[in-house]
Amino acid sequence: MLVTWKYRPRNTLMQRLDPRARLIFFLCYLLSVFMFWDVRVLSGFLVITLLTVLSAKLSWKDTRQTWLLLGSFTTFYALITFITGRAGNNLYQTEHIIAVLQAPFVVLGWQPTVAISIEQVFLALSQFSRVSSIAAITLLIPYTFDPAMYGVTFRQLGLPDKLAFALDLTMRFVPSLGRDFAMTMDAQKARGYEMERRSGGLLGQVRKLTPLLVPVVIHSIISGEEITDAMDLRAFGTQPRTWLRRLSYARRDYIVIAVSLILLATSVAANLSGLGRFWAP
C-alpha cells in the first residue's frame, strides 16, 4: 500500500490556506525565481523563502535530515559552478580575474590551477540563491500539505476525476518507493551486498545496482496492479464521482492568489524588458 509523507497538522497561516491557493503561489513563485540571474533580486527571493520556511513552524527534529541534505546539495552545486564556471558562458562575456589559485602539488606533470573571477563568484552566489529558494519551497510541500487533500485539490483546480485521483496516488507513490527501496536495501545487505563497493564504468555501476532496481521496479508494477484491482472492486471510474471533502476559498486565499499572480506578472515583465539579468560589480 502507499505511504504518505511526514505531514502534521499545524496551526500556521500556510496550513490554514486553501491548498489550491498554496499550489498557485508555489507555481508562480517557482516560475518567478526562474526569471532572474541578478543576485540582488535573488537574495530578495531567498529572504522570502527563508521567511516562508520559518512561518511553516516545522520542528528541527522532524526535518533535520532534509535540511542537511538540502544544504549539502546546494553548497556542492554552487561550488561546482564556482570552480567550473559552468553555465556562465551565456550570461557574461568578459571576466575580471581577481586571484589565481595553484595547488601546492603536481599530479602527473599537471598542476591544478583555478583562476577566480568576480563573475565566477557572483555566478556561484546566484546559483546558490536560486537552487536554495526553489528546493526549500518545494520541500515544504510534503511536510505541510495534508495528504487527504491531494485528490480534491487537483479536482477543484479543474482536473477530471480520474486524473485528480491519479495525481493523488502519484504524490504518495514517491515516499512508498522510498520505503520499498529501504526494504530492498536491507534484504540485499543481508546477502552481503555493499553499495560502497561499486566500481567499474557507467555500465558496471548500473549493473551493480540491479539487485536494488529490479525488486523495486517489480514491486511497483505488482502494487500498481493491486491498487487497480482494489479500485475496480469499489466501482472507481464508472460514473462521475462525489468528493467527500469540499474546498472553499476564504478572503486570505484570494489575497495570496492575487499576490502570486502579480509577482509572476512583474517577474515576466522584468525579464522581457531585460531587467534582472546576470549582475556583477
Binding site: 552481503g192 469499489r234 464508472t238
Partner: protein
C-alpha cells in the same frame, strides 16, 4: 435468492490447464461459507469470477458457465453494480487500502458511486460504529496495525451495503487475537443476513464461528461440499491443517505408521556456546521512543527458536539486531563473542543469515542459479564452494532442477523457498526467518520446515562432514508451527521478552499467552494433556509434538 455458481470454468490465457473446471455451488444469505484448499486450487480465481474482476479486469481468458447474484446474471452487470451487491476483501488489507486516511478509505467506494455527501457521511459514521473503529477515523491508513487495517478495509466494503462479502484469506496477516475478532465480526454479519464467504487455510480458526457451509477445492474442482463435520472427515489431514483431535482420531482409526518427522533436539541437548548474545539491548528509531527494552538473551548451537507475540511487538526489530540492520541504542549484541558494533552488515552476514518476509524484496537475478550465487559471491566464497552450496541449498528447499528458471516466474511458495536458499548458500551459522510460512499452504510449509530442520547440523557433526547451519530462529503467528518445530520459545510483547524457555515453560501459562494476543490451539491443548507421556527417557523436560505423533503415544 442466493449466489448460485453453475458449471463455472475458467482458463487463463497464459496457462496450460484450466484453473477452474466445472464448479457448481451456492452461497446463502445468513450463512458463513468456508472455502478451503491447497495453494493453486483455484480459490482466488473463483472469487475473481464472482466479484466480476474476471472477465472485466482480467481479460483474454476463457470463461464459461454462469453466476447468478440474487437472481441477476453477472454477465449482464457492470462492476459498479456488482460492487454494490458483493464486497470483496482482498488477501492482504495492504493491497486493498487506496486512500491515505481512514475516513477517505471508507468513503472511497461511496464517492465512486456518486452518492450525496450527507449520505456518505452518515454511512461512514454508521459503518465505523458497527466495526468499532470510530476512534480511527482521522488516522492515516499506513500507520494502522494489521488488525486495524483489515477492519478499515472491511469498513470500506461494508459501507457500500453489499448483500454478500467475500474474504480471501482474511487471517493471513493477523495475530491470533486479531484473527478471532475478525471472525466474530463475520459471524455477526452473517447473522444480520449477509452471505459471508471466507477462503482460508486456517480451518480450525474458522470452525470456531460454526460455518454453515464448507467447500473444499482441489485442482479447480470442488471435492467436498457440505457441513463442517463432513469436511473434517473427508479431506486429507496432511493437505490442510485440521484440529488436533480430528487428526489424532483419524490417524488412529487408519492405523497408519507415524510419519517421519525431523526432530528438533530436546532442550537438554542444546550446546552451551552462544552464537549470538544480546546484552541489555535497548533500541528506538531516530527521534522516536524506545521500542525494545532490556533485551538479554543468547542463541546457542542446536536451538530452534520460535518468536511469538502480537503484531508490532518488536519481534523483527529484535532479530534484525543480530545482523546489524538495526543497531542497539543501548547495550551490545555479540556475534561469536565479538561486539557487532564494529562490523558491517555484510561482515555479519557471514555468520548470520536473515531471510526477509517478502521474497519480492530480494529476488532479481535472471536465473535461480545466479540468484543463489549472489550472496556467497558478495562475501567472497570461491566458485567451487558456491556450486556445492547451491546444490545443497536447492536440495534443502526441495527445488532441485529449477537452476535455470527465472526466480520471478516461480509460484509465490517457490519464491519464498528460493529466498531462503539464497541465504543458505552463504553458509551462515544461524538462520533467521521472518514469517517463513506466510502465504504458503499447510502441506507446502510442513514439508519445507521438515526439510529445513533436518538440515540443521548437530554438535557431533563437523562443518566438513555435513553442510548446514547450527541454529534456527523464526518469527511466526502460527502457534502450532512453534509447537511442532521449536525447542525454545520466546514470547515478545511491547518490546520486551515476556517469557523465554522450553515450549513447556512458555506455553503452560495460557493466561499469559492470551494477554499477549495468542489463543491456545487444539494442538497446544492436546500436548498439554499428554505431557506425562511425552518425556523422552533420561530427559527432564517434555517434548511437544505434532498431532499425528501424539496419536501414537501409548
Amino acid at each position: 435468492m442466493t449466489i448460485r455458481v453453475t458449471n463455472l470454468s475458467y482458463h487463463y490465457r497464459n496457462q496450460r490447464e484450466r484453473t477452474l473446471d466445472g464448479l457448481s455451488t451456492e452461497f446463502k444469505p445468513g450463512e458463513v461459507t468456508l472455502i478451503a484448499g491447497a495453494s493453486g486450487c483455484g480459490k482466488t480465481t473463483l472469487i475473481r469470477c464472482i466479484n466480476g474482476l474476471i472477465p472485466r479486469s482480467y481479460t483474454g481468458g476463457e470463461l464459461s458457465g454462469a453466476i447468478e447474484l440474487f437472481g441477476q446474471d453477472t454477465a449482464a452487470l457492470t462492476l459498479a453494480t456488482i460492487s454494490q451487491i458483493i464486497g470483496t476483501v482482498l488477501q492482504d488489507p495492504e493491497k486493498q487500502i487506496v486512500a491515505s486516511d481512514v475516513t477517505s478509505e471508507i468513503a472511497f467506494g461511496l464517492e465512486n458511486l456518486g452518492l450525496p455527501r450527507d449520505e456518505i457521511r452518515e454511512r461512514i459514521a454508521h459503518t465505523a460504529e458497527l466495526l468499532h473503529i470510530s476512534n480511527l477515523l482521522t488516522r492515516e491508513t499506513f500507520l494502522l496495525s494489521g488488525g486495524e487495517k483489515q477492519k478499515v478495509a472491511l469498513a470500506g466494503v461494508l459501507a457500500m451495503r453489499p448483500r454478500a462479502v467475500l474474504l480471501d484469506e482474511p487471517l493471513a496477516s493477523l495475530d491470533p487475537a486479531s484473527g478471532r475478532e475478525a471472525l466474530a465480526l463475520m459471524r455477526h454479519l452473517a447473522d444480520a443476513g449477509i452471505a459471508v464467504v471466507i477462503i482460508e487455510h486456517r480451518i480450525e480458526d474458522v470452525l470456531a464461528i460454526h460455518p454453515e457451509h464448507c467447500v473444499y477445492m482441489s485442482a479447480g474442482r470442488i471435492t467436498y461440499d457440505g457441513d463442517a463435520a463432513g469436511l473434517l472427515q473427508s479431506v486429507d489431514w496432511r493437505e490442510i491443517k485440521l484440529p488436533a483431535s480430528v487428526v489424532m482420531q483419524r490417524v488412529r482409526a487408519a492405523g497408519m505408521a507415524v510419519p517421519h518427522r525431523a526432530r528438533s533436539k530436546s532442550p537438554e541437548q542444546v550446546g552451551s556456546k552462544s552464537i549470538i548474545e544480546y546484552r541489555q539491548v535497548g533500541f528506538g528509531y531516530a527521534d522516536g521512543p524506545e521500542v525494545l527494552h532490556d533485551i538479554n538473551c543468547a542463541i546457542r548451537r542446536g536451538e530452534i527458536i520460535a518468536l511469538i507475540g502480537p503484531n508490532g511487538a518488536g519481534k523483527s526489530t529484535l532479530l534484525k539486531h543480530a545482523i546489524g540492520l538495526n543497531r542497539p541504542v543501548r547495550g551490545q549484541v555479540l556475534v561469536d563473542g565479538v561486539d557487532s558494533a564494529a562490523l558491517t552488515v555484510a561482515q555479519l552476514a557471514r555468520a548470520v543469515g536473515f531471510v526477509f518476509q517478502s521474497p519480492s524484496h530480494m529476488l532479481f537475478a535472471p536465473t535461480v542459479r545466479e540468484e543463489l550465487a549472489f550472496g556467497p559471491r558478495n562475501i567472497g566464497l570461491d566458485a567451487e564452494t558456491i556450486a556445492l552450496n547451491t546444490d545443497n541449498a536447492l536440495a534443502t528447499v526441495a527445488l532441485t532442477g529449477t537452476e535455470d528458471q527465472p526466480p520471478l516466474a516461480l509460484s509465490f511458495g517457490q519464491q519464498k523457498r528460493i529466498s531462503i536458499a539464497s541465504i543458505l548458500t552463504m553458509n551462515p551459522r544461524i538462520v533467521i526467518m521472518d514469517e517463513p510460512t506466510a502465504g504458503q499452504d499447510y502441506a507446502n510449509y510442513t514439508h519445507f520446515m521438515d526439510d529445513i530442520v533436518s538440515h540443521m547440523r548437530t554438535d557431533a557433526e563437523s562443518a566438513n562432514a555435513k553442510p548446514g547451519f547450527e541454529a534456527l530462529a523464526f518469527i511466526t503467528h502460527d502457534l502450532d508451527l512453534a509447537i511442532t518445530y521449536a525447542n525454545r520459545i520466546m514470547l515478545v510483547a511491547d518490546g520486551r521478552i515476556v517469557a523465554d524457555g522450553t515450549p513447556e515453560e512458555v506455553l503452560l501459562d495460557t493466561a499469559r499467552l492470551e494477554r499477549c494476543r495468542i489463543h491456545p490451539t487444539s494442538l497446544l491443548e492436546a500436548n498439554l494433556a499428554a505431557l506425562n507421556k511425552t518425556t523422552p527417557s533420561g530427559m527432564q523436560s517434555h517434548r511437544f509434538m505434532s498431532a499425528a505423533e501424539l496419536a501414537f503415544l501409548a
